[in-house]
């Protein structure tokens, strides 16, 4: 059991646009163990979802992998054929999305949509697949599942629809489940239930979970490790507890502190939130040999604008690495 379930090394993705080639992902590397929960964190446009789509072999038509490898159980998915990827998708690696309203087909019952996956990948007949669909609906805690399989998506609430999506994604007991902002469209009490469900089912089925989010609170609840991404690159990686306690990259620090977190001691009132200036740079500047965060960074120096920082171990912390010329030291 030495080899990890998934090993991504130096993954690069390029888009071909009217104005030529642009880099979207730049040397992204990470590993994922069986049953592990990792989170990709960053603002929109930083490459979190693109990394996930690359794993699934679902890059948009104008994108292609420009380098690196995706080693999944000893097989390189970058070079895998389309028919092989079709076998893997929904079966060994599956994905749920942000918008449960649009990711279910409105003209079929939810039972049929769950059964379809089982018929396709597991070769079950219709009857067996439907019976299994009821089990799955029960597993995702939809009450009265046997009666609900004949419901159409519009008869369910947003939270229930997301549960159905999870049931579909987990139908074939995949090794990896990618959840792309799965609760952004949902209410906060529903979000808490969905997270609890994902954690429990992930542990039970030994499914590794990749959670894509911009919410550090969600990361803290859901993941063991996190990968902070900025402008198509990995800027910090490590255990969630370590990074929240002592993040090394100024961007990670900004992400953690710029959100008003609830405190029980209400008298502790911040007058201003610490903010990260500016916005994510346009995609056309992603590939440059510099720290792309430097223009927004309070610690930036000549070195930051002149060269790309290497990913290096944070002193004194195992499995905690950062790509920064002037990282914060350990400790707060």
């Amino acid at each position: 059991m030495a080899a990890p379930l998934l090993e991504v090394r130096d993954l690069g993705v390029r888009f071909t646009t009217r104005d030529g080639q642009v880099t979207v992902l730049d040397d992204v590397s990470f590993t994922l163990e069986r049953g592990e929960r990792i989170s990709f964190v960053g603002e929109s446009g930083c490459g979190k979802s693109m990394t996930a789509l690359a794993l699934m072999g679902l890059l948009p038509a104008m994108g292609q992998v420009s380098g690196g490898m995706i080693n999944f159980k000893g097989e390189d998915l970058v070079t895998a054929s389309e028919s092989r990827m079709r076998q893997i998708r929904g079966n060994e690696i599956s994905m749920i999305f942000q918008e449960p309203m649009t990711s279910l087909n409105p003209v079929f019952t939810i039972g049929r949509q769950i059964a379809e996956v089982l018929q396709l990948h597991r070769g079950l007949d219709r009857r067996a697949a439907l019976a299994r669909a009821i089990d799955l609906l029960e597993a995702v805690r939809i009450p009265n599942a046997a009666a609900r399989i004949d419901d159409y998506p519009h008869q369910l609430s947003g939270g229930q629809r997301q549960r159905v999506m999870i049931a579909i994604a987990l139908a074939c007991e995949p090794e990896i489940l990618i959840a792309d902002e799965p609760t952004t469209a949902l209410d906060v009490t529903v979000q808490a239930e969905i997270f609890a469900l994902l954690r429990d089912l992930g542990a039970k089925l030994e499914t590794a979970i990749i959670l894509i989010t911009h919410d550090m609170g969600a990361v803290a609840q859901m993941a063991e490790r996190m990968l902070v991404m900025y402008a198509g690159r990995r800027v910090e990686e490590g255990r969630v507890a370590d990074i929240i306690k002592a993040s090394a990259h100024p961007y990670t620090r900004g992400l953690i502190s710029c959100v008003p977190h609830i405190t029980a001691d209400a008298t502790r009132r911040l007058d201003r939130l610490p903010e990260i200036d500016g916005i994510v740079p346009p995609i056309t500047s992603f590939g440059r040999d510099a720290c792309l965060f430097a223009p927004r960074c309070g610690r930036a120096s000549e070195a930051c604008h002149g060269g790309r920082p290497a990913q290096a171990e944070v002193a004194g912390h195992k499995a905690h690495s950062v790509a920064c010329w002037h990282p914060h030291d350990g400790g707060a």
Partner: protein, 296 residues
Amino acid sequence: MAVQRQMTESDSQTPRAQHPLREVLQMFVGNRAAVVASVILLMIVLAAVFGPMLYPTDPFEMVWAPFTPPGTDGFILGTDYLGRDMLSGLLNGGRVSLTIGLVAALMSVFIGISFGALAGFYRGVVEEVLMRITEFFQVLPTLLFSMVIVALFGASLTVVTIAVGIVSWTAVARITRAEFLRIRELEYVTASRAAGASNMVLMTRVILPNALPPIIVQAALMVGSAILFEAGLAFLGLSDPNVVSWGQIIGSNRTYILDAGFTVTIPGLAIFVTVLSISLIGDGLNDALNPKLRRR
């Protein structure tokens, strides 16, 4: 201090102030078929406007032997069954056909926008009544209805134009209503309302400009269909007998289609090329005005 720090978000670059219409124009120019069609249509319009002045032969005068083939005896497009000059007929008929198309389209756009805007904006009883009226006109057999109008009020150019306009405004009304229903729920409309805009201002200055793109496309297509419609009426002999139009030339020569096909095909070709050009332009406008396609 706070203020200065906040400036940085926009510091990277300042884009030029580019009007949305300019962007539309750029998209349109990128569509080659639409550009070619525009050039062809422009030539047709110029020929219809200035042609009769440069080529002053009366289209009703019998100038030569009937059925003179094109290119013989100095008649570029030949003569028809009464020996009238086909080229002159085509140029003068173009004026009439294009005018009817344009005026009828404008008329239906005006009626359609009024109905659609009021129905989409006010909802409730107003919407019910206006949309029932629209549906009434929509289910009328259009050709039959316009034939009735022409039969009742006489076959003058004005009546024919009105007849064509009345039977074709319903599509505009439906599109306008749908756009109004969509846009009135957008937050910038609420913002204008919260700022104290009157209903008239909301309809004409806030919602309508944003609802125009699909209406413009529909209007362009309608010019083409109005030309066809008039041609159909004229072919049946229901158009103004005192003016030449393309449809009328076809109609009056139709019995000789086997003996002298050119008398029918030449005006037919004119209609075909004009309507096709207008359709392609409408298509190009559709692409250029559709914001979903704009970011390719």
